[in-house]
Protein backbone atom coordinates (compact mmCIF):
# COMPACT_ATOMS: atom_id res chain seq x y z
CA UNK A 1 0.00 0.00 0.00
CA UNK A 2 2.81 2.34 0.76
CA UNK A 3 4.01 3.22 -2.65
CA UNK A 4 5.74 6.29 -1.34
CA UNK A 5 8.49 7.52 -3.41
CA UNK A 6 11.61 7.31 -1.36
CA UNK A 7 13.87 10.29 -1.13
CA UNK A 8 16.43 10.07 -3.83
CA UNK A 9 19.85 8.84 -2.77
CA UNK A 10 22.41 11.61 -2.63
CA UNK A 11 25.00 9.79 -4.62
CA UNK A 12 23.05 9.87 -7.79
CA UNK A 13 25.30 11.21 -10.55
CA UNK A 14 24.39 14.58 -11.77
CA UNK A 15 22.99 14.57 -15.27
CA UNK A 16 24.67 17.06 -17.55
CA UNK A 17 22.59 19.95 -18.63
CA UNK A 18 20.93 19.02 -21.82
CA UNK A 19 21.93 21.09 -24.84
CA UNK A 20 19.04 23.35 -25.60
CA UNK A 21 17.18 23.22 -28.79
CA UNK A 22 15.88 26.74 -28.67
CA UNK A 23 17.43 28.98 -31.26
CA UNK A 24 20.19 31.05 -29.84
CA UNK A 25 19.93 34.62 -30.91
CA UNK A 26 22.74 37.10 -31.12
CA UNK A 27 22.20 40.36 -29.30
CA UNK A 28 22.01 41.96 -32.69
CA UNK A 29 19.08 39.81 -33.72
CA UNK A 30 17.51 40.53 -30.36
CA UNK A 31 17.99 44.19 -30.98
CA UNK A 32 16.50 44.04 -34.44
CA UNK A 33 13.46 42.26 -33.10
CA UNK A 34 12.96 44.74 -30.30
CA UNK A 35 13.51 47.53 -32.75
CA UNK A 36 10.93 46.30 -35.20
CA UNK A 37 8.43 46.01 -32.40
CA UNK A 38 8.97 49.57 -31.29
CA UNK A 39 6.59 51.83 -33.09
CA UNK A 40 8.35 55.16 -32.77
CA UNK A 41 11.70 53.63 -33.59
CA UNK A 42 10.29 52.20 -36.78
CA UNK A 43 8.52 55.40 -37.78
CA UNK A 44 11.59 57.41 -36.91
CA UNK A 45 13.91 55.22 -38.88
CA UNK A 46 11.55 55.25 -41.83
CA UNK A 47 11.61 59.04 -41.80
CA UNK A 48 15.36 59.15 -41.39
CA UNK A 49 15.92 56.58 -44.10
CA UNK A 50 13.63 58.43 -46.48
CA UNK A 51 15.57 61.60 -45.94
CA UNK A 52 18.76 59.67 -46.43
CA UNK A 53 17.45 58.30 -49.69
CA UNK A 54 16.28 61.73 -50.73
CA UNK A 55 19.71 63.08 -50.02
CA UNK A 56 21.42 60.39 -52.05
CA UNK A 57 18.97 60.38 -54.90
CA UNK A 58 18.39 64.12 -55.04
CA UNK A 59 19.44 64.51 -58.68
CA UNK A 60 17.05 61.75 -59.72
CA UNK A 61 14.11 63.02 -57.75
CA UNK A 62 14.00 66.41 -59.33
CA UNK A 63 14.69 67.55 -62.85
CA UNK A 64 15.73 71.05 -61.85
CA UNK A 65 19.06 72.30 -60.68
CA UNK A 66 19.05 73.92 -57.33
CA UNK A 67 20.70 77.05 -58.67
CA UNK A 68 18.71 77.27 -61.89
CA UNK A 69 16.71 80.44 -62.17
CA UNK A 70 13.51 80.81 -64.07
CA UNK A 71 11.28 83.66 -64.91
CA UNK A 72 8.66 82.47 -62.50
CA UNK A 73 9.49 84.44 -59.36
CA UNK A 74 7.77 83.63 -56.10
CA UNK A 75 5.22 81.36 -57.67
CA UNK A 76 2.79 79.45 -55.57
CA UNK A 77 3.04 75.66 -55.56
CA UNK A 78 1.93 74.19 -58.86
CA UNK A 79 2.36 71.10 -60.98
CA UNK A 80 5.62 72.43 -62.38
CA UNK A 81 6.92 73.60 -59.06
CA UNK A 82 5.55 71.41 -56.31
CA UNK A 83 6.67 73.70 -53.53
CA UNK A 84 6.53 76.87 -55.63
CA UNK A 85 9.51 79.03 -56.48
CA UNK A 86 11.61 81.50 -54.59
CA UNK A 87 12.40 85.12 -55.34
CA UNK A 88 14.91 84.12 -58.00
CA UNK A 89 12.51 81.75 -59.63
CA UNK A 90 14.35 78.68 -58.38
CA UNK A 91 12.36 75.56 -57.77
CA UNK A 92 11.80 75.27 -54.04
CA UNK A 93 11.14 71.56 -54.12
CA UNK A 94 14.57 71.05 -55.63
CA UNK A 95 16.18 73.28 -53.07
CA UNK A 96 14.46 71.58 -50.18
CA UNK A 97 15.51 68.21 -51.55
CA UNK A 98 19.13 69.24 -51.93
CA UNK A 99 18.93 70.89 -48.52
CA UNK A 100 18.53 67.41 -47.08
CA UNK A 101 22.09 66.66 -48.05
CA UNK A 102 23.39 69.62 -46.15
CA UNK A 103 21.36 68.97 -43.04
CA UNK A 104 22.30 65.34 -42.84
CA UNK A 105 25.89 66.25 -43.44
CA UNK A 106 25.75 68.82 -40.68
CA UNK A 107 24.22 66.38 -38.25
CA UNK A 108 26.63 63.63 -39.12
CA UNK A 109 29.82 65.62 -38.93
CA UNK A 110 29.00 67.91 -36.09
CA UNK A 111 27.74 65.09 -33.95
CA UNK A 112 30.44 62.60 -34.75
CA UNK A 113 32.92 65.34 -33.96
CA UNK A 114 31.45 66.06 -30.58
CA UNK A 115 30.98 62.38 -29.87
CA UNK A 116 34.60 61.61 -30.58
CA UNK A 117 36.03 64.49 -28.61
CA UNK A 118 33.42 64.42 -25.87
CA UNK A 119 33.59 60.69 -25.33
CA UNK A 120 37.33 60.68 -25.26
CA UNK A 121 37.45 63.40 -22.65
CA UNK A 122 34.63 61.78 -20.70
CA UNK A 123 36.38 58.43 -20.83
CA UNK A 124 39.62 59.85 -19.50
CA UNK A 125 37.84 61.83 -16.81
CA UNK A 126 35.70 58.93 -15.69
CA UNK A 127 38.33 56.23 -15.84
CA UNK A 128 41.35 57.93 -14.40
CA UNK A 129 39.59 60.36 -12.06
CA UNK A 130 41.83 62.60 -9.99
CA UNK A 131 43.19 65.78 -11.47
CA UNK A 132 42.31 64.73 -14.99
CA UNK A 133 38.72 64.37 -13.96
CA UNK A 134 38.71 67.71 -12.20
CA UNK A 135 40.21 69.46 -15.15
CA UNK A 136 38.02 67.90 -17.80
CA UNK A 137 34.91 68.34 -15.71
CA UNK A 138 35.70 72.01 -15.34
CA UNK A 139 36.08 72.30 -19.08
CA UNK A 140 32.66 70.73 -19.50
CA UNK A 141 31.24 73.09 -16.90
CA UNK A 142 32.67 76.03 -18.74
CA UNK A 143 31.34 74.93 -22.08
CA UNK A 144 27.99 74.15 -20.59
CA UNK A 145 27.68 77.45 -18.79
CA UNK A 146 28.38 79.32 -22.01
CA UNK A 147 25.25 80.55 -23.67
CA UNK A 148 25.72 78.09 -26.47
CA UNK A 149 24.18 79.97 -29.36
CA UNK A 150 26.26 83.03 -28.51
CA UNK A 151 29.34 80.88 -28.31
CA UNK A 152 28.55 79.44 -31.71
CA UNK A 153 28.01 82.90 -33.10
CA UNK A 154 31.32 84.05 -31.70
CA UNK A 155 33.14 81.01 -33.04
CA UNK A 156 31.71 81.51 -36.50
CA UNK A 157 32.50 85.20 -36.34
CA UNK A 158 36.05 84.27 -35.45
CA UNK A 159 36.59 81.64 -38.10
CA UNK A 160 34.48 83.13 -40.82
CA UNK A 161 31.10 82.22 -42.13
CA UNK A 162 30.87 78.90 -43.78
CA UNK A 163 29.14 75.64 -43.35
CA UNK A 164 32.24 73.94 -42.07
CA UNK A 165 32.82 76.56 -39.44
CA UNK A 166 29.21 76.32 -38.38
CA UNK A 167 29.73 72.57 -38.10
CA UNK A 168 32.75 73.13 -35.95
CA UNK A 169 30.85 75.52 -33.70
CA UNK A 170 28.00 73.08 -33.29
CA UNK A 171 30.44 70.30 -32.58
CA UNK A 172 32.14 72.36 -29.90
CA UNK A 173 28.98 73.37 -28.11
CA UNK A 174 27.81 69.78 -28.00
CA UNK A 175 30.99 68.37 -26.54
CA UNK A 176 29.96 68.63 -22.89
CA UNK A 177 26.71 66.77 -23.49
CA UNK A 178 28.55 63.71 -24.69
CA UNK A 179 31.47 64.19 -22.39
CA UNK A 180 29.37 64.23 -19.28
CA UNK A 181 27.25 61.36 -20.45
CA UNK A 182 30.34 59.30 -21.15
CA UNK A 183 31.90 60.22 -17.87
CA UNK A 184 28.90 59.23 -15.81
CA UNK A 185 28.50 56.07 -17.82
CA UNK A 186 32.15 55.15 -17.33
CA UNK A 187 31.84 55.83 -13.65
CA UNK A 188 28.92 53.49 -13.33
CA UNK A 189 30.38 50.79 -15.54
CA UNK A 190 33.65 51.09 -13.69
CA UNK A 191 31.99 50.00 -10.48
CA UNK A 192 30.34 46.99 -12.08
CA UNK A 193 31.37 43.59 -10.89
CA UNK A 194 32.63 42.51 -14.27
CA UNK A 195 35.20 45.25 -14.23
CA UNK A 196 36.32 44.08 -10.84
CA UNK A 197 36.38 40.60 -12.31
CA UNK A 198 38.56 41.81 -15.15
CA UNK A 199 40.98 43.30 -12.68
CA UNK A 200 40.93 40.15 -10.63
CA UNK A 201 41.80 38.35 -13.84
CA UNK A 202 44.96 40.40 -13.99
CA UNK A 203 44.09 42.59 -16.93
CA UNK A 204 45.89 45.80 -17.68
CA UNK A 205 44.11 49.12 -17.48
CA UNK A 206 44.20 49.64 -21.18
CA UNK A 207 42.60 46.34 -21.87
CA UNK A 208 39.93 46.96 -19.26
CA UNK A 209 39.26 50.37 -20.73
CA UNK A 210 38.93 49.27 -24.31
CA UNK A 211 37.60 45.75 -24.00
CA UNK A 212 35.30 46.09 -21.08
CA UNK A 213 34.38 49.65 -20.28
CA UNK A 214 34.09 51.20 -23.70
CA UNK A 215 31.84 48.58 -25.29
CA UNK A 216 29.46 48.96 -22.39
CA UNK A 217 29.27 52.73 -22.72
CA UNK A 218 28.32 53.24 -26.27
CA UNK A 219 24.59 52.58 -26.17
CA UNK A 220 23.63 55.73 -24.28
CA UNK A 221 26.07 57.62 -26.46
CA UNK A 222 24.38 56.24 -29.51
CA UNK A 223 20.97 57.22 -28.21
CA UNK A 224 22.18 60.65 -27.28
CA UNK A 225 23.93 60.87 -30.60
CA UNK A 226 20.70 60.30 -32.45
CA UNK A 227 18.96 62.93 -30.37
CA UNK A 228 21.98 65.19 -30.72
CA UNK A 229 21.76 64.76 -34.45
CA UNK A 230 18.32 66.31 -34.24
CA UNK A 231 19.58 69.16 -32.12
CA UNK A 232 22.46 69.78 -34.48
CA UNK A 233 20.12 70.09 -37.43
CA UNK A 234 18.13 72.71 -35.55
CA UNK A 235 21.24 74.50 -34.40
CA UNK A 236 22.57 74.57 -37.94
CA UNK A 237 19.26 75.98 -39.10
CA UNK A 238 19.47 78.64 -36.38
CA UNK A 239 22.97 79.59 -37.47
CA UNK A 240 21.83 79.58 -41.07
CA UNK A 241 18.94 81.76 -40.07
CA UNK A 242 21.40 84.24 -38.65
CA UNK A 243 23.36 84.06 -41.88
CA UNK A 244 26.24 82.26 -40.23
CA UNK A 245 25.91 78.87 -41.82
CA UNK A 246 26.01 77.66 -45.37
CA UNK A 247 26.81 80.24 -47.98
CA UNK A 248 24.85 80.83 -51.18
CA UNK A 249 23.86 79.24 -53.38
CA UNK A 250 23.88 76.19 -51.08
CA UNK A 251 20.26 75.43 -50.26
CA UNK A 252 20.59 75.10 -46.50
CA UNK A 253 17.20 75.04 -44.81
CA UNK A 254 17.95 77.60 -42.13
CA UNK A 255 19.39 80.00 -44.68
CA UNK A 256 16.38 79.43 -46.87
CA UNK A 257 14.14 80.25 -43.95
CA UNK A 258 16.07 83.39 -43.22
CA UNK A 259 15.74 84.45 -46.84
CA UNK A 260 12.10 83.51 -46.96
CA UNK A 261 11.30 85.43 -43.82
CA UNK A 262 10.71 88.60 -45.80
CA UNK A 263 8.31 86.82 -48.11
CA UNK A 264 6.17 85.47 -45.33
CA UNK A 265 3.40 87.82 -46.41
CA UNK A 266 3.88 87.48 -50.10
CA UNK A 267 4.82 83.87 -50.50
CA UNK A 268 4.29 81.91 -47.29
CA UNK A 269 5.24 78.66 -48.99
CA UNK A 270 8.86 79.75 -49.12
CA UNK A 271 8.71 79.76 -45.36
CA UNK A 272 6.55 76.73 -44.78
CA UNK A 273 8.29 74.02 -46.78
CA UNK A 274 11.85 74.42 -45.52
CA UNK A 275 10.44 74.77 -42.01
CA UNK A 276 8.47 71.59 -42.34
CA UNK A 277 11.52 69.86 -43.78
CA UNK A 278 13.57 70.82 -40.73
CA UNK A 279 10.83 69.80 -38.34
CA UNK A 280 10.28 66.49 -40.09
CA UNK A 281 13.95 65.52 -40.20
CA UNK A 282 14.40 66.45 -36.60
CA UNK A 283 11.24 64.61 -35.69
CA UNK A 284 12.56 61.52 -37.44
CA UNK A 285 15.77 61.55 -35.47
CA UNK A 286 13.97 62.28 -32.25
CA UNK A 287 11.60 59.39 -32.76
CA UNK A 288 14.48 57.12 -33.60
CA UNK A 289 16.48 58.30 -30.62
CA UNK A 290 13.52 57.85 -28.31
CA UNK A 291 12.95 54.42 -29.65
CA UNK A 292 16.57 53.42 -29.24
CA UNK A 293 16.55 54.71 -25.70
CA UNK A 294 13.53 52.60 -24.85
CA UNK A 295 15.02 49.57 -26.50
CA UNK A 296 18.36 49.90 -24.78
CA UNK A 297 16.96 50.94 -21.45
CA UNK A 298 17.21 47.89 -19.25
CA UNK A 299 14.34 49.18 -17.14
CA UNK A 300 12.09 48.96 -20.13
CA UNK A 301 13.02 45.34 -20.65
CA UNK A 302 10.57 42.91 -19.22
Amino acid sequence: MSAHIQPVPFTKPEPPISPEKEIVESPFRDFVRAFLRHRSAVIGSVIVLSFLLIAILAPFITSYEYTARSQALLQAPSVDHWFGTDEMGRDLFTRVIYGTRISLWVGLFAISGSIIVGSLLGLIAGFYGGWRDTMISRIFDILLAFPSILLAIAIVAMLGRSLSNALLAIAIINIPTFGRLMRSRVLSVKSEDYILAARAMGMKNRRILFHHILPNCWTPIMVQGTLGFATAVIEAAALGFLGLGAQPPEPEWGTMLADARQYIQLAPWTMIFPGVAVALTVLGFNLLGDGLRDIFDPRMKQ
Partner: protein
Protein backbone atom coordinates in the same frame (compact mmCIF):
# COMPACT_ATOMS: atom_id res chain seq x y z
CA UNK B 1 24.67 73.10 3.85
CA UNK B 2 26.39 76.46 4.11
CA UNK B 3 29.75 74.86 3.56
CA UNK B 4 28.34 73.09 0.56
CA UNK B 5 27.16 76.37 -0.90
CA UNK B 6 30.52 77.95 -0.24
CA UNK B 7 32.22 75.02 -1.86
CA UNK B 8 30.08 75.30 -4.91
CA UNK B 9 30.75 79.00 -5.09
CA UNK B 10 34.47 78.38 -4.85
CA UNK B 11 34.17 75.87 -7.65
CA UNK B 12 32.60 78.64 -9.66
CA UNK B 13 35.89 80.52 -9.70
CA UNK B 14 37.86 78.26 -12.05
CA UNK B 15 34.83 78.03 -14.29
CA UNK B 16 34.58 81.78 -14.51
CA UNK B 17 38.29 82.19 -15.07
CA UNK B 18 38.27 79.59 -17.82
CA UNK B 19 35.22 81.20 -19.25
CA UNK B 20 36.75 84.65 -19.28
CA UNK B 21 39.89 83.35 -20.95
CA UNK B 22 37.95 81.55 -23.63
CA UNK B 23 35.64 84.48 -24.21
CA UNK B 24 38.52 86.87 -24.32
CA UNK B 25 40.51 84.86 -26.80
CA UNK B 26 37.57 84.06 -29.03
CA UNK B 27 36.34 87.62 -29.00
CA UNK B 28 39.72 89.08 -29.74
CA UNK B 29 40.32 86.56 -32.47
CA UNK B 30 37.31 87.86 -34.36
CA UNK B 31 38.61 90.04 -37.16
CA UNK B 32 37.75 93.73 -37.11
CA UNK B 33 37.62 95.96 -34.11
CA UNK B 34 35.28 98.30 -32.30
CA UNK B 35 36.98 101.42 -33.59
CA UNK B 36 35.24 100.96 -36.92
CA UNK B 37 31.86 100.71 -35.31
CA UNK B 38 32.47 103.83 -33.34
CA UNK B 39 33.43 105.93 -36.31
CA UNK B 40 30.84 104.41 -38.56
CA UNK B 41 31.12 103.62 -42.21
CA UNK B 42 33.28 106.60 -42.94
CA UNK B 43 36.38 107.66 -41.24
CA UNK B 44 39.95 108.49 -41.96
CA UNK B 45 42.55 105.88 -41.09
CA UNK B 46 44.15 108.31 -38.69
CA UNK B 47 40.94 108.68 -36.76
CA UNK B 48 40.51 104.95 -36.49
CA UNK B 49 44.06 104.55 -35.31
CA UNK B 50 43.55 107.20 -32.69
CA UNK B 51 40.42 105.54 -31.37
CA UNK B 52 42.24 102.25 -31.18
CA UNK B 53 44.87 103.85 -29.06
CA UNK B 54 42.30 105.51 -26.85
CA UNK B 55 40.65 102.17 -26.23
CA UNK B 56 43.94 100.49 -25.48
CA UNK B 57 43.41 98.07 -28.33
CA UNK B 58 46.95 98.51 -29.52
CA UNK B 59 48.33 96.90 -26.38
CA UNK B 60 49.26 93.21 -26.34
CA UNK B 61 46.31 90.92 -25.72
CA UNK B 62 47.53 89.60 -22.39
CA UNK B 63 47.83 93.09 -20.98
CA UNK B 64 44.33 93.85 -22.14
CA UNK B 65 43.18 90.66 -20.47
CA UNK B 66 44.83 91.43 -17.17
CA UNK B 67 43.45 94.94 -17.21
CA UNK B 68 40.05 93.45 -17.74
CA UNK B 69 40.45 90.91 -14.95
CA UNK B 70 41.75 93.58 -12.61
CA UNK B 71 38.67 95.65 -13.26
CA UNK B 72 36.37 92.70 -12.78
CA UNK B 73 37.99 91.87 -9.47
CA UNK B 74 37.32 95.42 -8.39
CA UNK B 75 33.70 94.87 -9.27
CA UNK B 76 33.94 96.90 -12.42
CA UNK B 77 32.33 95.23 -15.36
CA UNK B 78 33.69 97.83 -17.70
CA UNK B 79 32.19 100.35 -20.03
CA UNK B 80 30.55 99.75 -23.34
CA UNK B 81 32.88 100.94 -26.05
CA UNK B 82 30.02 102.05 -28.21
CA UNK B 83 27.59 103.75 -25.85
CA UNK B 84 30.20 104.68 -23.24
CA UNK B 85 27.76 103.49 -20.60
CA UNK B 86 28.74 101.37 -17.63
CA UNK B 87 27.89 97.82 -18.50
CA UNK B 88 26.68 96.99 -15.03
CA UNK B 89 24.09 99.71 -15.38
CA UNK B 90 23.32 99.25 -19.01
CA UNK B 91 22.74 95.52 -18.84
CA UNK B 92 20.14 95.65 -16.07
CA UNK B 93 17.03 96.35 -18.13
CA UNK B 94 18.14 93.81 -20.73
CA UNK B 95 18.70 91.16 -18.12
CA UNK B 96 15.39 91.93 -16.54
CA UNK B 97 13.60 91.74 -19.87
CA UNK B 98 15.11 88.38 -20.71
CA UNK B 99 14.61 87.04 -17.22
CA UNK B 100 10.98 88.02 -17.25
CA UNK B 101 10.50 86.38 -20.61
CA UNK B 102 12.43 83.27 -19.64
CA UNK B 103 10.64 82.87 -16.33
CA UNK B 104 7.22 83.22 -17.90
CA UNK B 105 8.24 80.84 -20.67
CA UNK B 106 9.43 78.42 -18.02
CA UNK B 107 6.25 78.74 -16.00
CA UNK B 108 4.23 77.93 -19.07
CA UNK B 109 6.56 75.10 -19.89
CA UNK B 110 6.45 73.64 -16.40
CA UNK B 111 2.71 73.95 -16.01
CA UNK B 112 1.81 72.37 -19.30
CA UNK B 113 4.80 70.08 -19.50
CA UNK B 114 4.35 68.54 -16.08
CA UNK B 115 0.62 68.04 -16.39
CA UNK B 116 0.90 66.68 -19.88
CA UNK B 117 3.60 64.33 -18.67
CA UNK B 118 1.52 63.18 -15.72
CA UNK B 119 -1.57 62.52 -17.77
CA UNK B 120 0.45 60.73 -20.41
CA UNK B 121 2.10 58.53 -17.84
CA UNK B 122 -1.15 57.85 -16.14
CA UNK B 123 -2.93 56.99 -19.33
CA UNK B 124 0.10 55.21 -20.68
CA UNK B 125 -0.37 53.83 -24.19
CA UNK B 126 -3.74 55.50 -24.62
CA UNK B 127 -4.49 57.72 -27.57
CA UNK B 128 -4.09 60.68 -25.23
CA UNK B 129 -0.60 59.52 -24.40
CA UNK B 130 0.35 59.08 -28.01
CA UNK B 131 -1.03 62.44 -29.06
CA UNK B 132 0.53 64.29 -26.18
CA UNK B 133 3.90 62.72 -26.78
CA UNK B 134 3.72 63.34 -30.48
CA UNK B 135 2.96 66.97 -29.79
CA UNK B 136 5.85 67.09 -27.38
CA UNK B 137 8.11 65.55 -29.98
CA UNK B 138 7.02 67.99 -32.62
CA UNK B 139 7.64 70.68 -30.05
CA UNK B 140 11.29 69.76 -29.75
CA UNK B 141 11.60 69.29 -33.46
CA UNK B 142 10.67 72.78 -34.49
CA UNK B 143 13.19 75.55 -34.93
CA UNK B 144 11.91 78.18 -32.52
CA UNK B 145 12.54 81.05 -34.84
CA UNK B 146 10.26 79.42 -37.32
CA UNK B 147 7.63 78.83 -34.68
CA UNK B 148 7.94 82.42 -33.55
CA UNK B 149 7.47 83.76 -37.05
CA UNK B 150 4.52 81.52 -37.65
CA UNK B 151 2.96 82.54 -34.37
CA UNK B 152 3.48 86.18 -35.15
CA UNK B 153 2.04 85.82 -38.58
CA UNK B 154 -0.99 83.91 -37.41
CA UNK B 155 -1.92 85.34 -34.02
CA UNK B 156 -0.76 88.89 -34.42
CA UNK B 157 -1.38 89.54 -38.05
CA UNK B 158 -4.04 87.23 -39.38
CA UNK B 159 -6.14 87.02 -36.24
CA UNK B 160 -4.92 90.28 -34.71
CA UNK B 161 -5.40 88.78 -31.29
CA UNK B 162 -2.11 89.53 -29.62
CA UNK B 163 0.57 92.16 -29.96
CA UNK B 164 3.26 91.06 -32.36
CA UNK B 165 6.28 92.48 -30.63
CA UNK B 166 7.75 94.51 -27.83
CA UNK B 167 7.11 94.37 -24.12
CA UNK B 168 4.44 96.99 -23.86
CA UNK B 169 2.43 99.36 -25.99
CA UNK B 170 4.87 102.25 -26.33
CA UNK B 171 2.05 104.75 -26.06
CA UNK B 172 1.50 103.65 -22.52
CA UNK B 173 2.80 105.95 -19.80
CA UNK B 174 4.94 103.60 -17.85
CA UNK B 175 7.88 103.88 -15.50
CA UNK B 176 10.29 101.04 -15.49
CA UNK B 177 11.33 100.64 -11.87
CA UNK B 178 12.61 97.12 -11.59
CA UNK B 179 12.44 96.60 -15.34
CA UNK B 180 10.36 93.52 -14.73
CA UNK B 181 7.38 95.11 -16.38
CA UNK B 182 4.81 92.85 -14.84
CA UNK B 183 6.12 93.68 -11.37
CA UNK B 184 6.43 97.34 -12.23
CA UNK B 185 2.84 97.44 -13.37
CA UNK B 186 1.73 95.89 -10.10
CA UNK B 187 3.81 98.31 -8.07
CA UNK B 188 2.26 101.20 -9.89
CA UNK B 189 -1.16 99.68 -9.63
CA UNK B 190 -1.52 100.11 -13.36
CA UNK B 191 -3.74 97.17 -14.19
CA UNK B 192 -4.24 98.20 -17.72
CA UNK B 193 -0.51 98.12 -18.22
CA UNK B 194 -0.29 94.83 -16.38
CA UNK B 195 -2.75 93.28 -18.74
CA UNK B 196 -0.86 94.72 -21.69
CA UNK B 197 2.43 93.36 -20.38
CA UNK B 198 0.95 89.91 -20.05
CA UNK B 199 -0.50 90.04 -23.54
CA UNK B 200 2.86 91.03 -24.91
CA UNK B 201 4.49 88.14 -23.08
CA UNK B 202 2.29 85.44 -24.50
CA UNK B 203 3.67 84.93 -28.00
CA UNK B 204 7.38 85.14 -27.26
CA UNK B 205 7.00 83.12 -24.08
CA UNK B 206 5.15 80.40 -25.92
CA UNK B 207 7.78 80.36 -28.65
CA UNK B 208 10.57 80.23 -26.13
CA UNK B 209 8.79 77.80 -23.83
CA UNK B 210 7.85 75.22 -26.42
CA UNK B 211 11.07 73.28 -26.39
CA UNK B 212 11.41 73.21 -22.60
CA UNK B 213 7.76 72.28 -22.37
CA UNK B 214 8.25 69.37 -24.67
CA UNK B 215 11.36 68.27 -22.84
CA UNK B 216 9.68 68.59 -19.47
CA UNK B 217 6.61 66.70 -20.64
CA UNK B 218 8.74 63.82 -21.88
CA UNK B 219 10.91 63.86 -18.83
CA UNK B 220 7.94 63.96 -16.50
CA UNK B 221 6.31 61.13 -18.31
CA UNK B 222 9.28 58.81 -18.27
CA UNK B 223 10.15 59.64 -14.73
CA UNK B 224 6.54 59.19 -13.65
CA UNK B 225 6.46 55.83 -15.36
CA UNK B 226 9.60 54.79 -13.62
CA UNK B 227 8.37 55.89 -10.23
CA UNK B 228 5.00 54.31 -10.83
CA UNK B 229 6.74 50.98 -11.22
CA UNK B 230 8.51 51.39 -7.92
CA UNK B 231 7.80 49.38 -4.82
CA UNK B 232 6.67 52.27 -2.69
CA UNK B 233 3.93 53.20 -5.13
CA UNK B 234 2.75 49.63 -4.89
CA UNK B 235 2.81 50.07 -1.14
CA UNK B 236 0.75 53.24 -1.41
CA UNK B 237 -1.79 51.44 -3.51
CA UNK B 238 -1.79 48.51 -1.13
CA UNK B 239 -2.84 50.91 1.59
CA UNK B 240 -5.97 51.63 -0.38
CA UNK B 241 -4.93 55.12 -1.38
CA UNK B 242 -6.99 56.71 -4.16
CA UNK B 243 -5.46 57.03 -7.59
CA UNK B 244 -5.35 60.83 -7.48
CA UNK B 245 -3.27 60.85 -4.35
CA UNK B 246 -1.08 58.06 -5.56
CA UNK B 247 -0.25 60.17 -8.60
CA UNK B 248 -0.07 63.63 -7.19
CA UNK B 249 1.32 62.92 -3.75
CA UNK B 250 3.46 59.83 -3.92
CA UNK B 251 4.51 59.69 -7.53
CA UNK B 252 4.86 63.28 -8.59
CA UNK B 253 7.11 64.33 -5.77
CA UNK B 254 9.53 61.55 -6.59
CA UNK B 255 9.23 62.01 -10.30
CA UNK B 256 9.84 65.70 -10.02
CA UNK B 257 13.48 65.40 -9.03
CA UNK B 258 14.85 64.65 -12.49
CA UNK B 259 12.40 67.16 -13.91
CA UNK B 260 13.87 69.76 -11.63
CA UNK B 261 17.27 69.31 -13.23
CA UNK B 262 15.79 69.85 -16.63
CA UNK B 263 13.98 72.95 -15.44
CA UNK B 264 17.16 74.43 -14.05
CA UNK B 265 19.22 73.57 -17.08
CA UNK B 266 16.62 74.84 -19.49
CA UNK B 267 16.07 78.05 -17.59
CA UNK B 268 19.78 78.70 -17.80
CA UNK B 269 19.75 77.94 -21.49
CA UNK B 270 16.75 80.18 -22.11
CA UNK B 271 18.49 83.14 -20.56
CA UNK B 272 21.41 82.98 -22.93
CA UNK B 273 19.67 81.35 -25.83
CA UNK B 274 16.83 83.71 -26.43
CA UNK B 275 18.65 85.68 -29.13
CA UNK B 276 16.43 84.53 -31.93
CA UNK B 277 13.19 84.95 -30.03
CA UNK B 278 14.31 88.36 -28.90
CA UNK B 279 15.09 89.35 -32.46
CA UNK B 280 11.82 88.17 -33.87
CA UNK B 281 9.68 89.68 -31.14
CA UNK B 282 11.78 92.84 -30.75
CA UNK B 283 12.35 91.95 -27.16
CA UNK B 284 15.02 94.22 -25.72
CA UNK B 285 16.83 91.39 -24.00
CA UNK B 286 20.31 90.43 -23.07
CA UNK B 287 20.83 87.87 -25.83
CA UNK B 288 20.25 90.48 -28.44
CA UNK B 289 22.43 92.87 -26.49
CA UNK B 290 25.37 90.49 -26.57
CA UNK B 291 24.66 89.49 -30.13
CA UNK B 292 24.82 93.14 -31.18
CA UNK B 293 27.97 93.52 -29.13
CA UNK B 294 29.57 90.63 -31.00
CA UNK B 295 28.76 92.31 -34.29
CA UNK B 296 30.08 95.63 -33.05
CA UNK B 297 33.15 94.01 -31.45
CA UNK B 298 32.14 95.68 -28.25
CA UNK B 299 34.64 93.60 -26.29
CA UNK B 300 33.80 94.57 -22.72
CA UNK B 301 30.10 94.00 -23.30
CA UNK B 302 30.66 90.57 -24.81
CA UNK B 303 33.00 89.53 -22.05
CA UNK B 304 31.05 90.82 -19.12
CA UNK B 305 27.72 89.85 -20.64
CA UNK B 306 28.75 86.27 -21.14
CA UNK B 307 30.33 86.16 -17.73
CA UNK B 308 27.11 87.36 -16.14
CA UNK B 309 25.02 84.88 -18.05
CA UNK B 310 27.35 82.07 -17.12
CA UNK B 311 27.29 83.06 -13.49
CA UNK B 312 23.53 83.09 -13.51
CA UNK B 313 23.52 79.71 -15.20
CA UNK B 314 25.76 78.23 -12.55
CA UNK B 315 23.78 79.85 -9.76
CA UNK B 316 20.49 78.54 -11.09
CA UNK B 317 21.93 75.08 -11.15
CA UNK B 318 23.21 75.52 -7.64
CA UNK B 319 19.74 76.53 -6.55
CA UNK B 320 18.34 73.49 -8.28
CA UNK B 321 20.78 71.32 -6.41
CA UNK B 322 19.72 72.91 -3.16
CA UNK B 323 16.10 72.35 -4.08
CA UNK B 324 16.91 68.67 -4.44
CA UNK B 325 17.91 68.54 -0.85
CA UNK B 326 14.68 70.25 0.04
CA UNK B 327 12.58 67.80 -1.95
CA UNK B 328 14.61 64.73 -1.21
CA UNK B 329 15.60 64.19 2.41
CA UNK B 330 18.12 61.57 1.34
CA UNK B 331 20.33 64.23 -0.12
CA UNK B 332 22.37 66.00 2.44
CA UNK B 333 24.98 68.37 1.26
CA UNK B 334 28.01 68.98 3.30
CA UNK B 335 27.96 65.54 4.84
CA UNK B 336 29.72 62.55 3.39
CA UNK B 337 28.92 62.34 -0.26
Amino acid sequence: MISYIIRRLIMLIPVLIGMSIITFSVVHAIPGDPARTIVGDKATPAQIQEIRENLGLDKPAYIQYFTYVKDILQGDLGTSLITKQEISKEIKPFLAATTELAVVAMLIAVFFGVNLGILSAWKQNSWFDYTAMLIALIGVSMPIFWLGLMEQWFFAQELDLLPSNGRLDPRMEFDAITNFYSIDAIIQGNWYAFQDVLLHLILPAVALGTIPMAIIARMTRSSMLEVMRSDYIRTARAKGLGEFWVIYKHTLKNAFIPVLTVVGLQLGLLLGGAVLTETIFSWPGVGRYIFDAINARNYPVIQSGILILATIFVLINLIVDLLYAWVDPRIQYGKGE
